[in-house]
Subunit: 153 residues, 4 copies
């Protein structure tokens, strides 16, 4: 019986929740005059990672929105350990840290490749709302979508 | 009869079309690692200038969209003479260079203050479409809006 | 003796630290397909507010960087109460919530005008570093700058 | 002798200049309230495509900048045929349309996958300058870099 998992999912070996992995290359337009990636630019990366996480459920974020489920942000947070530079290759991981019928929270880690130095880590909190911007109970309103998502958590 | 107009509207003294003036301060997030404003960031400025131009008509861009008139871009263009830096004060002018019942074109000039050096100049072309993304004849469909806009050109 | 201060600075009536006020108009490019301001776009606003806060010290952020003092972000955070829309007028306040010789923290509030509804609030944490990206003791290295800033806190 | 080349490089079968291909997925943060990709967001894509084009030379854009060669934009241009949506997969091609010892021009095409509908096309013009922002003759100053690039054109 092997417990040792040498990869990035190691710390999740117990909770077994799904952690997505997204690769990105730093764009010139994402840097600022300090020569590193502007702090606000990590949030669109988190969004890309979230998009990839959702895909695993069989749904896409686009499909969820078309069906009338929006996930507006209620809180964002990011800690920056080191600066990233233009053309750096990065790996962004994403997992769900909390899920209720009304809310979902994601956690992210940003690693520089190939050395896998952790450059930053963040969190976003979202509410489930409908197209009229009213809170919904995802489990009651969209039971299939709820099952697909909660199965990954 | 005085033809001399010592301000920025001078070159329009003959066509008398309305030229809006918008003041901005360069944001840190608008710079890139070259230390100057990223070339893509001028287009949101043009958009701000366009927003100000439209206001003069008595309508707002928001109100036009709410009434079902969208102005998607069909072409954008910008020439860069000098680079702008963080905290530079700039003046962006905007005027309509062409207007038909189906299309509108805007021209922009970006000046650094207070020396009024022309830093860049651009152009955007737009079609009038409705919320279903279909081309419309603005004059027929929204005669009041058409009059308000064409009166400024 | 009047304690009542009916303006936005009310809650600071005791600590008397300086709170800057910055007015912005929501740009079209700051919205996303949900129809509201994208969550990442609040951080460049905070940066604009920070820029305005620093000006009060007699220095500018640009001048600080030219003298070799950078303030890279070590943490960002924002809570979103309501969504903002294109052309909304907003007021962003900024104050320093913590200052040491090595670090500075800013707090922000975003209000929609003219009703002064609080739409969001955030925080950013920064370290003082030099052009070689090494931490510095601001008080020792730049005593004048230190005084100018700490006088406002 | 076969002239027919069924791929995207077809139209270049005669000039044989190198055309790079870059795949991207539309990010949520790249959309605006019209529900499509904001027109300014195509320019960072062109930049990513340019970065990929340069890689083929054996140099990287980062390496060129570290050696003291900058390519500031002197002109940008884009035509938009159709709007792109969140999560659309796109292919951006890039080729050099003009190269002199002082200047370089790139052309881009943006296709939606998998149907390969051409969504937009653009052009950027650049000057070769050094770290002091002075124009340089690339052939004289950096003969190896010049050879690596001109071999692809």
């Amino acid at each position: 019986m092997v417990w040792y998992t040498p990869d990035i999912n190691r710390q999740n070996s117990i909770d077994m929740s799904y952690k997505s992995e997204t690769r990105l290359t730093v764009r010139y337009a994402e840097t600022d005059m300090m020569g590193i990636v502007h702090h606000s630019r990590y949030y669109p990366w988190f969004e890309v990672a979230r998009t990839d996480w959702v895909k695993k459920s069989g749904y896409t974020y686009s499909e969820m929105e078309r069906q009338g489920v929006l996930l507006p942000l209620t809180e964002t947070q990011c800690k920056y350990h080191y600066g990233l530079r233009y053309e750096d290759e990065v790996l962004v991981t994403c997992r769900v840290s909390k899920l209720t019928v009304a809310r979902i929270e994601f956690e992210y880690e940003v690693y520089r490749l190939p050395d896998m130095t952790k450059m930053s880590e963040g969190k976003t909190k979202h509410g489930f709302i409908n197209a009229e911007f009213r809170p919904i109970n995802l489990k009651k309103t969209y039971p299939d979508m709820w099952k697909a998502i909660s199965d990954l958590v």
